[in-house]
Amino acid sequence: MELTTEYLGLKLKNPLLPGASPLSDDLDTVRRLEDAGAPAIIMRSLFEEQLIMEEQATLEDVNLHEFSSPEAASYLPNIADFALGSDEYLKQIAQIKQVTEIPVIASLNGTTLGGWVHHARLIQEAGADALELNTYFLPTNLLRTSKDIEDQIIEVFRAVRNKVNIPVAVKLSPYFSALPHFALQLQRVGADGLVLFNRFYQPDLDPESLDIKITLQLSDPYELRLRLRWLAILSAHLHLDLSATGGVHTGLDAIKAIMAGATTVQMVSALLRHGPEHFHQVLEFLGHWMSEHEYESLEQLRGSLNLTTGPDPSAFERANYMKMLLSWRKMTHGFGIPPQQS
């Protein structure tokens, strides 16, 4: 089965991608992913905020104690090679490029305009083949409007676009009042692709300790539904690449995402849970399924159930919500217990 896909201008062997995650930190895991059929590696995000905080912490917690005692000029080894900033990340890009033959897509989250641009350039220089801008601006300020936030993302994209030559995709959160309009703006300013959607670590509350807890929660297949809806809507109107991320666990999930209009499909939680070799199983399923169902190419599959091609476009619109509720009620009334999510 011919699965070749072009994504962000990169020729990929297939449309499945290991998404941005710590999987890219370990060269051995990266090699295993390549062996399992991954057509590219998406690096975990480089967080400018984290870099700044680490610099700050080093200054405040480590350098604070330097030259304070006659017996010790410092309390940790003085290692010239010990660099803060993005060195570690950049080195990893170069190393992945060295040990694999597949493209590397870096991912970046900045906090300052200068930071976005600075790190994007360094990432390009380190050899990344494309860049995913992991944008999110959580609005806690009452005076910021939705337009402010959209403008800010556009500004960041423009600034980065002007300074790097590699393809640039924008990873978005689902929380936009008018996502299609915003996506169109990104297309107009030259975004090579959109990645749908960022998964936030949602804070949890601990009523016992009166604390707020931030814990890592792997994705749930149900989360795919939200992606399917927006892939279906956006792919019907836009011509930039769309990549699905969040809730893709099985081959069938990947097929659904492609049918909704995804150019590529990213997996993270399933790989973290089952290991890099799971990638191969999903890929194999994709090929088998397409053969079994007599699909000739990915293009035939791609977008086949989106807003314009799907049999019932209204299913993606407002009525969808009502229908789900009705069917739910029918199910619970009929069988007493709703069926378990699989």
């Binding site: 912490a57 330097e66 005692s69 017996e71 010239a80 660099a83």
Partner: protein
């Protein structure tokens, strides 16, 4: 041929290390101040694979002690690798046995020594020659350096000479004064080293090495028939040394243009008065002599360079024949000797020279000896002048001292403290800063900028106070057109930087100002209000000495540019702007270059912030208009309050004011004894914010009290009526107790002693339910609270003490006990002191502490103030420090003595039973136990006994009176860090573990040598970077507790108060009650782990939860059927090890520099942690008391 020299600005430790590294293949090292940086440099270079002269990377091994290092060196040398090491003081003493062996076997070797005081009545980390002079009998050649340049040059000579002569060399230079002085020198390149070190000498050394391919035997035992003759066989080698060194010095002069001799004479060729001296003092004396000669005197200085072998011919040849009086200055003291070593050598030399006819008849000088500069005591040109003047009297005093006032034995020469001969073209700057504000680092940069970017010579020397939290630093900088030879502090500064405004209230800062000097002040007061804010004493100095004053609100600039509390870059920019050492624009460009160099790899943000600070500085800098008279009303407050005891006011107060040099000999106890509890008089006010208590929210758990490292937050319950006289803002609330009804409860902070570490706030579990951000303890700015809380705290201290009998051994209750270590100089947030504090709360009134040298001995006993204190009855910990390596043995000795006293007291009591009364005697004999009720009753009985003894006319009664207190049980604790327990003191600790005596050992495990700067110990965990393990430690931490448990007869516990404070209290209590040896290994978070200490408790929790630090208590005496002798007090690992390690820079360093290695080490460490916990589980099961144990065996 003179090689073109590269100049560099660096200190002697770095310069010597560079030479040693180039000429060495193998090193065995051990950290000791002030030599540690040399080993650290070599370790860094080796880790970076820098190569030596022969293109190979030197390899090093860190040993468990200097004794161990010497042993390893001996092996390295026998097997034929060129080897070296670095040491000082006690470390050198520990090497002596092996140095005899190395020397006896003529193994070429160089030991670089930063000469340092030996511990006698007190420890001192500072410089003198008492250590090297204790080695002069070994037979090593001893080569001395007096300056940074010389230290580098003589290091090279020593390495070349030892290979040439086979005699091992000790190359020494003054600890701190030379080792830590930053100076501009000509570097020696590898080309010069190659020209000095002969390849054939190296080959000959190799050929003599032991090898099974051509074996010979070394280390035989010889007998009366042969030993003597064989020992004399080495003599020809010693005879050749002076000549060989002389040849090398000549060769060196040709290569570099720098001329040295075995004995270097400088001065008038027809000098009449000559000072003979070794080390950095010679530089100052030479400066003085040159000035005197320029003013008509005939003086000179004979600098001894090759001290051993002593060459009579060279010495006599160097001495001017015209000399009429000689003063020999020794930087050491030999009590009871006829004179100090150099003096004796000089007297003997002159006598022998006369006998041999080497001296003309006319040359018959009077020779006197004097001591100077012990423990880095200042030696100034004025002091040298006083010595010359004494020589001029014709009948100079012998065995004098210079630099102190000896009003006991009358040895001291007086000198003119105001005499200053420093030329005007030398810029002399003094900067007062805090360790945490980066002043020293900025000044080091300044010296480098001036030394390397201009033709000027530069010198920097840095003085620190003895505190770890809020340390005051004083930087002494000189810049001038000539080589700077002033090896003494700046006393007439023409630039003074005051980087912290509050110093004006603590020190007479401007005393150091020369007439017309410039003063730069960092202050929140603007240029208009500054004058009125100054104490009148400072105003007077400014007016009288016509000082120019500049002010900047560096705090504000730092805040606005994101620099936090670090005003270093800002103040450095001001210095360049005002001093004019360099054109302003050029200086700023250099500062920025230095910032980039320092911080480039720490991220662009840091660089940007520093740049922004530089750019914002000049606009904020203003000159203050100085009025014509000092009219201020505010005086500098006295360093010690009026109500302090006499000794504290008379002695401690002077030391705190930075005037300790003025104290005469009579001020001091003769044997190193020192009064307790003097930190309470030193109100340092170093916290910007202090905790404020919300009594309505507080759940009265007392956890805040337990975790406070400085005993600066305390809790008390008391009867309501005492509140009648309470200050207006004193807070109290009803005491929550099931038994004590109607009592009040207070948590009170000591506002002036708190360091602001926030541990108490972190641990506080009581949150406001509708606003959990607010807790029962929140931090609030100190200044607005200071006065009221000071009064409240004073009131609090007078509240009645709780009845110890009613208090159970659990966290809340024990925290009502008075801590008997308070307000120490430990780091803010220290992870060790809470354990010590708890120890003093539990057993402080009957406690002996044997404290190993290290952090705990420094914050425990480094003057000027002492944190261990007494309770209201005058009882408290008998604290003492012997050495680093002997602490377990020392503590055991205390126990043996205590037991003997008890035994003698019992014997005398039984003897005196008829006079004392059988009932009291029986009760006294039965009252030797450690529970509070028994202790109280027994003390009352001892008082009764004393009453009765008073009327007994018998020598036995007098004897019993002296030791009657030993009828009350004492608690002996042997306390120290992991460097002591795991490494240098392990042999002794092991022996004590097997002694069966009732001693308790507390190991405060910071997992590195914290006090000397974080060198790796056997307690350092796998995967963590430390000095001497820069790539991350490859092996797991030694499990000392497991080892001790295998002994089978000792009580052993592992604790972490931040994880389970109750278990810590339980373990210390059980350890004390255990009638044999107890060992408690205590997790101690430390600044050397590389994170903010406010997270120390969280990290302790993670250490335990990850299984890295399993908590347990092992009691071999548990004998009830089904009892677990080993109780695991923490659960199986429940979080990944990475959760714990990811928060600490010591692990991050490896992750960021060698990610693959870090990952492998992390995986290994995780695996080890899992297996380790399983091992403990199995041990628990195996050691359960079973039927077999409880059944009687036939």
């Amino acid at each position: 041929m003179k090689s073109s020299a590269l100049k560099a600005t660096l200190d002697a430790n770095e310069a010597v290390a560079a030479v040693a590294y180039a000429l060495t293949e193998t090193l065995a090292i051990y950290p000791i101040t002030p030599s540690s940086p040399m080993a650290e440099f070599c370790d860094e270079w080796s880790a970076k694979n820098l190569r030596n002269l022969w293109g190979s990377v030197p390899r090093m091994v860190e040993m468990q002690s200097e004794g161990g290092a010497a042993g390893a060196l001996h092996g390295m040398l026998q097997a034929g690798t060129m080897s070296t090491s670095f040491t000082a003081s006690q470390g050198l003493l520990l090497m002596i046995p092996n140095l005899y062996k190395i020397t006896g076997e003529l193994l070429p070797f160089v030991l670089h020594v930063t000469a340092r005081t030996l511990a006698t009545h007190a420890l001192s980390i500072f410089g003198d020659h008492s250590d090297v002079m204790a080695c002069r009998q070994i037979g090593m050649a001893m080569l001395a350096s007096a300056s940074v340049q010389e230290a580098q040059d003589m290091a090279a000579i020593a390495h070349a000479a030892t290979l040439r002569t086979r005699v091992p060399f000790m190359h020494f230079f003054d600890g701190f004064r030379t080792s830590h002085e930053v100076g501009k020198i000509d570097l020696i390149g590898h080309d010069i080293l190659r020209a000095l070190v002969k390849e054939e000498d190296v080959a000959a050394f190799r050929e003599r090495a032991l090898t099974p391919d051509a074996p010979i035997l070394r280390g035989s035992a010889q007998n009366p028939d042969t030993f003597f003759q064989a020992r004399e066989a080495c003599n020809p080698f010693y005879s050749l040394v002076p000549g060989a060194v002389e040849q090398l010095l000549e060769a060196f002069a040709q290569l570099t243009g720098r001329h040295y001799r075995l004995f270097d004479y400088e001065g008038d060729p027809q000098a009449e008065q000559v000072i003979i001296v070794i080390g950095s003092g010679a530089e100052t004396a030479t400066e003085c002599s040159a000035w005197l000669n320029a003013h008509g005197k005939k003086t000179g200085i004979l600098k001894v360079r090759l001290f051993r072998p002593w060459s009579l011919q060279h010495f006599i040849a160097a001495l001017p024949e015209t000399v009429r009086a000689i003063a020999v200055l020794d930087r050491t003291k030999e009590p009871g000797a006829l004179g100090e070593p150099l003096y004796q050598d000089v007297v003997t030399s002159l006598a022998e020279a006369r006998t041999l006819g080497l001296l003309p008849r006319s040359c018959n000088p009077v020779v006197v000896g004097g001591r100077f500069g012990l423990s880095s005591k200042e030696f100034t040109p004025a002091m040298a002048k006083a010595v010359f003047e004494e020589l001029e009297t014709g009948a100079p005093r012998n065995h004098f001292t210079i630099g102190i006032m000896d009003d006991v034995s009358g040895t001291s020469l007086d000198w003119n403290r105001n005499w200053d001969i420093e030329p005007n073209d030398v810029t002399r700057a003094v900067f007062f800063g805090l360790g945490s504000d980066g002043t020293v680092g900025a000044n080091k940069n300044t010296i480098k900028i001036i030394g390397e970017e201009t033709d000027n010579f530069a010198q920097g020397y840095f003085v620190y106070d003895s505190k770890k939290a809020g340390a005051v630093t004083i930087s002494h900088l000189r810049f001038g057109p000539r080589q700077i030879r002033s090896t003494y502090l700046v006393s007439h500064a023409n630039f003074i930087g005051v980087h912290q405004w509050e110093f004006f209230d603590r020190l007479d800062i401007l005393d150091v100002a020369a007439q017309g000097a410039v003063v730069l002040i960092n202050s929140v007061h603007g240029f208009k209000s500054l004058w009125n804010a100054l104490p009148v004493e400072a105003q007077q100095t400014i007016v009288e000495r016509q000082l120019r004053v500049f002010v900047i609100d560096g705090y504000k600039v730092a805040r606005e540019t994101g620099m936090g509390a670090r005003v270093n870059t800002i103040m450095q920019t001001c210095f360049f702007a005002i001093s004019g050492v360099l054109p302003r624009e050029e200086a700023i460009a250099h500062i920025k270059k230095a910032i980039e160099k320092t911080y480039a790899r720490k991220g662009p943000e840091v660089v940007e912030k520093n740049f922004a600070a530089v750019d914002a500085t000049l606009a904020a800098l203003h000159e203050v208009t100085v009025p014509i008279s000092a009219d201020g009303l505010r005086h500098r407050p006295p360093p010690i309050p009026e109500e302090a005891p006499e000794f504290v006011k008379r002695i401690t107060g002077v030391m705190l004011a930075g005037q300790g040099d003025l104290l005469p000999v009579s001020a001091f106890p003769v044997d190193g004894s020192w009064p307790m509890g003097t930190t309470q008089w030193e109100k340092r006010n170093i916290a910007q914010e202090i905790p404020i208590w919300d009594e309505k929210l507080c759940i009265q758990c007392n956890k805040c009290v337990l975790v406070c490292p400085h005993a600066a937050i305390r809790a008390r319950y008391y009867e309501t009526d005492v509140l009648a006289s309470a200050p207006a803002t004193f807070k109290s609330v009803a005491f929550r107790s099931p038994t004590l009804k109607g009592f009040k409860y207070t948590v009170q902070v000591a506002p002036e002693d708190c360091t602001g570490c926030t541990l108490c706030v972190q641990v506080c579990p009581a949150k406001d339910k509708s606003n959990p951000r607010h807790k029962a303890l929140d931090m609030a700015p100190q200044l607005p609270l200071r006065d009221a809380e000071r009064v409240n705290y004073r009131f609090f201290l007078d509240l009645p003490e709780p009845d110890r009998k009613l208090i159970k051994a659990e966290v809340k209750a024990t925290q009502f006990y008075q801590p008997l270590i308070e307000y120490s100089g430990a780091c803010a947030g220290c992870g060790e002191t809470p354990y010590l504090k708890l120890l003093t709360q539990l057993f402080g009134d009957r406690l002996f502490i044997a404290n190993a040298t290290g952090c705990s001995s420094i914050y425990g006993g480094n003057l000027p103030t002492t944190p261990y204190t007494t309770n209201r009855d005058g009882r408290g910990p008998a604290w003492s420090n012997s050495l680093f390596e002997d602490n377990a043995e020392y503590g055991l000795g205390l126990r043996v003595a205590v037991d003997k006293h008890h035994e003698s007291a019992v014997e005398l009591l039984q003897l005196l039973a008829p006079q004392v009364g059988e009932v009291l005697v029986t009760e006294l004999l039965g009252g030797y136990a450690g529970d509070e009720a028994t202790l109280e009753a027994q003390r009352a009985r001892v008082m009764m006994l004393r009453e009765k003894l008073r009327d007994v006319q018998d020598i036995s009664a007098r004897r019993l009176e002296l030791i009657a207190d030993y009828l009350v049980k004492k608690s002996v604790w042997i306390v120290g860090g992991d460097g002591w327990a795991y490494d240098i003191g392990f042999g002794g600790l092991d022996h004590v573990l097997w002694s069966g005596r009732d001693v308790n050992i507390l190991v405060m495990d910071t997992e590195v040598y914290s006090n000397t700067g974080g060198q790796s110990s056997k307690a350092t965990p796998m995967g963590a970077a430390a000095k001497f393990a820069v790539s991350g430690k490859a092996l797991p931490k030694k499990d000392l507790a497991l080892y001790a448990m295998m002994n089978g007869t000792a009580y052993v516990a592992r604790v972490a108060f931040g994880s389970k404070d109750g278990q810590t209290v339980q373990a210390l209590t059980e350890a004390e009650q255990f009638p044999g040896v107890s060992l408690v290994v205590a997790y101690s978070h430390c600044i050397a782990h590389g994170y903010g200490m406010q997270f120390g408790l969280e990290q302790q929790k993670l250490a335990v939860d990850s299984g890295y630090w399993p908590l347990f208590r092992f009691n071999p005496l548990r004998d009830k059927h089904g009892d677990e002798r080993l109780k695991l007090d923490s659960s199986a690992p429940k979080v990944a090890l990475e959760k714990y390690t990811a928060n600490e820079m010591r692990y991050r360093i490896v992750e960021r520099t060698q990610p693959e290695r870090a990952r492998a080490l992390q995986q290994g460490a995780q695996q080890q942690v899992r297996e380790h916990y399983k091992l403990y589980e199995r041990l628990r099961d195996v050691m359960k008391v079973s039927d077999v144990d409880t059944e009687e065996t036939i």
